[in-house]
């Protein structure tokens, strides 16, 4: 998501690489580049300025120690400062209350209703909470219906009162309802409002005072520009919120608002939204985000997501088959579905160090495997279990059955046999041989 900024920083550091040490003169242009890159990434003008000033001071101080590679020194200084700016470690939700109340607040269109749903889904599935969603947006047409549809999708009860135009009253009744029905968490969705709309800001203050939430979360669009400073501050002045949800990070925004908000209000970003589906909610990790900005990739997130979806028994079964050289197309199909479960393929690739830049202009989406799946699904059971059976005429049949060409089927067959060999080698610890083979495969097809 910070790929663009990364590009620019790469360029800025490149200028430095030819020099022996960091001096006022050679760092000045680079810092200007960095500042412009940050501003172009929608970091607030003032914060970008402060940021580069701090980086400069620190970089100049360090020149004696490691004068050999100024680019690396500066990378480290920028990275450390970025991580510091974005806050310490991940901060968890406070779910102490009985019931604990979460109040969602933000501008129009930031994604409050969708993220109320995602958060409810997260708490229900990962924390086994009994959640109640409350519809307090009494203004926007069909906002209440929207929350009901979302609630139905995730199987969470929604409390609403279409006749009631008083959100404070609705919220209070909802909490009484939650107490009676044993809900542990109440998530209050509110109407979008502008920070300068005093009447609406008073309303949310009243809701806040009435329900006394353990967590008030400020929901903000990651594409927000310079106005993030004003809005984040204005909502914080009224609500003194506990944390931030940064939404729509599955776009290609550079997301500088994350840096801005963290600095201006000194509140942690607790979650990020990464898609329209109800499970597209991730915990925000400041240090990982800083790594990502600087092209170090986000391997930790990748591994965590893989672990979450990983089916150990299945893996053991597949491993055995590989060892016996029996890995077949059914197993392959299973592997694909596991990868798909991990989420958007492009997202995943973006987390691998160095891949972000490469993938920038490549169109990979969830349908990347569709062709492959279609081909395999057009094979008979026997063919899947025993790929050697698949001769020319069978290939022709598979191609027409899957709506692909015989060339595509041939390619898949070839890749499959290369992959089987590779897997066999991995079992035998032939890492070197495998590396050679990878070179030979040279990025054809989706795997």
């Amino acid at each position: 998501m910070f790929d663009n900024l990364q590009d620019k920083l790469d360029k800025a550091f490149h200028v430095l690489k030819g020099h022996g040490q960091i001096t006022e003169v050679n760092v000045a242009d680079t810092l200007k580049e960095i500042r412009r890159a940050l501003v172009d990434a929608d970091v607030s003008f003032k914060i970008a300025k402060e940021f580069t000033n701090t980086v400069k001071e620190k970089a100049l101080g360090e020149k004696v120690l490691t004068s050999l590679k100024p680019g690396q020194v500066l990378t480290k200084v920028v990275h450390d400062e970025m991580a510091r700016l974005m806050g310490g470690d991940a901060v968890d939700l406070n779910l102490e209350g009985k019931p604990s109340v979460i109040l969602m607040a933000g501008l129009q269109g930031s994604g409050k209703t969708t993220h109320s749903g995602k958060l409810a889904n997260h708490l229900k599935r990962k924390r086994t909470k009994k959640v109640l969603l409350v519809a307090c947006d009494v203004y926007r047409p069909a906002a209440i219906d929207q929350l009901h549809v979302v609630g139905e999708q995730i199987g969470v009860e929604v409390f609403s009162d279409k006749e009631n135009k008083n959100p404070v009253d609705i919220a209070e009744k909802a909490i009484a309802h939650a107490k009676q029905n044993g809900h542990n968490v109440v998530i209050v969705d509110t109407a979008g409002r502008l920070a300068i709309d005093q009447e609406m800001m008073t309303e949310i203050r009243n809701i806040h005072e009435a329900v006394k939430p353990q967590e008030t979360l400020f929901v903000v669009d990651s594409m927000t520009g310079q106005d993030a400073v004003n809005t984040a501050k204005a909502f914080n002045d009224v609500l003194d919120y506990e944390g931030v949800i940064l939404t729509k990070l599955d776009g290609d925004t550079r997301g500088g608002a994350a840096l801005t908000i963290r600095t201006v209000v000194n509140k942690p970003i607790k979650f990020i939204g990464t898609g329209e589906k109800m499970d597209a909610l991730d915990v925000f990790h400041p240090s990982r985000m800083a790594d990502r900005i600087l092209g170090m990739g986000d391997v930790v997130s990748l591994v965590e997501r893989a672990q979450e979806q990983f089916d150990e028994d299945e893996a053991r079964r597949v491993q055995k088959k590989i060892a016996k050289n029996q890995f077949d197309f059914d197993d392959f199909l299973g592997q694909i579905s596991q990868i798909k479960k991990m989420g958007n393929v492009k997202d995943l690739m973006g987390m691998i160090p160095g891949m972000g830049k490469m993938m920038k202009n490549v169109d990979i989406d969830d349908d990347a495997f569709k062709g492959v799946e279609a081909i395999i699904q057009s094979m008979t059971k026997e063919e899947r279990a025993n790929p050697k059976l698949i001769n020319g005429s069978r290939r022709q049949r598979i191609a027409s059955g899957s709506g692909t060409s015989i060339q595509e089927v041939n390619q898949l067959m070839k890749q499959f046999s290369e992959m089987s060999k590779m897997m066999k080698m991995m079992q035998g610890g032939g890492a070197k041989k495998m590396a050679n083979m990878m070179k030979g495969m040279g990025g054809r097809g989706p795997f």
Binding site: D40, G109, Y139, L147, I196, D227, E276
Partner: protein
């Protein structure tokens, strides 16, 4: 408290806001003029000041540099510049970057062909449906027959939302169940407009992030399907942008233009503190005019874009 209650109170607030802004507005220009009076070159301090004003309004680095260079050129050519001239030049240079409406259309009048098909596109949460509601109201006020097409079949309750607007404005809506094919809804809407002999049909589409290839292809498909009925459709593709969006809006405009040939922009939520300065760069680089601005949630809160007022607002900070 209904829509109208909110509307009135907002106007009062705006006045208060304007008064508060007068002070800061004056200070930017007095600084500018003090630093520039009697000189043949704008000094760096002034340019830095200007850069801050423009960047803080989301104008973006590239466009800001372009504006500053243009001013430097004018200053070195015309030598002495007083406050009033500088002020004027600055506004002119920015206004120069903003495109005029290509078809020269003024107000809410329409070209001769019927029905006039408008497709409304944009990323999630920018205010597409609300803008359509307000636009339908304006066309209806102008005495035109309007049909709405609810082709956002994806987002929860989006169809209901447009349905409420259709009732509010008093215009028919063409819809199908949630999850149905948006291109099919668009087709039906255009068909219905033809048989009703309606003047204008406005197609709502689901919010989509511009980097999702499949969803962008879906827009092209909606367009192609409508062309089976009206070969020139859509006559207008309106890209809705949230004024609080930063530099990503440029990428949005590029990608949506690629998929659907955006003909005009609607800049929403300008009643907040965001300035929407990114529209300048979009208009300049992609040659797309800003046509409408959204200034509130009320049915009448859609205005035609006014270049001068917009440029002035950049300095009211």
């Amino acid at each position: 408290m209904g829509i109208f209650g909110k509307l009135f109170s907002k106007e009062e607030k705006k006045e208060q806001l304007d008064q508060g802004l007068e002070k800061t507005k004056a200070s930017v220009f007095s600084k500018l003029s003090k630093a520039i009076a009697g000189k043949s070159k704008v000094d760096d301090e002034v340019l830095d000041e200007l850069e801050e004003v423009l960047i803080s309004s989301d104008v973006g680095v590239n466009t800001t540099v372009k504006i500053i260079e243009a001013i430097e050129e004018r200053v070195s050519r015309d030598k002495y510049l007083g406050t009033a001239e500088l002020n004027q030049i600055l506004r002119e240079e920015i206004a120069n970057l903003l495109q005029d409406a290509l078809d020269g259309s003024q107000g809410f009048e329409l070209p001769a062909h019927r029905p006039h098909v408008i497709m409304v596109v944009g990323v999630n949460g920018v205010g597409k449906t609300t803008t359509i509601g307000k636009l339908a109201y304006q066309y209806k006020q102008a005495g035109l027959e309007v049909v709405l097409g609810a082709a956002d079949t994806f987002r929860a309750a989006a169809v209901d939302q447009l349905g409420i607007w259709s009732e509010r404005v008093g215009v028919p809506i063409v819809k199908q169940a949630m999850g149905s094919d948006p291109a099919s809804v668009a087709f039906d809407a255009v068909q219905s407009a033809i048989s009703r002999k309606a003047d204008v049909v406005i197609i709502d589409t689901a919010g989509r992030l511009h980097n999702k290839v499949n969803l962008m292809n879906e827009l092209s498909k909606i367009k192609r399907v409508m062309q089976k009925l009206v070969p020139e459709a859509p006559h207008e593709v309106l890209l809705v942008l949230d004024a609080s969006t930063g530099q990503n809006a440029l990428e949005q405009a590029k990608q949506f233009s690629k998929a659907t040939e955006v003909s005009a922009l609607a800049l929403t939520k300008l009643d907040g503190t965001a300035k929407g300065g990114v529209a300048i760069g979009i208009s300049d680089q992609l040659q797309i005019p800003v046509k409408y601005i959204g200034v509130g949630e009320g049915i009448e809160d859609l205005q035609l874009f006014d270049k001068d007022a917009f440029v002035n607002s950049l300095f009211e900070h």
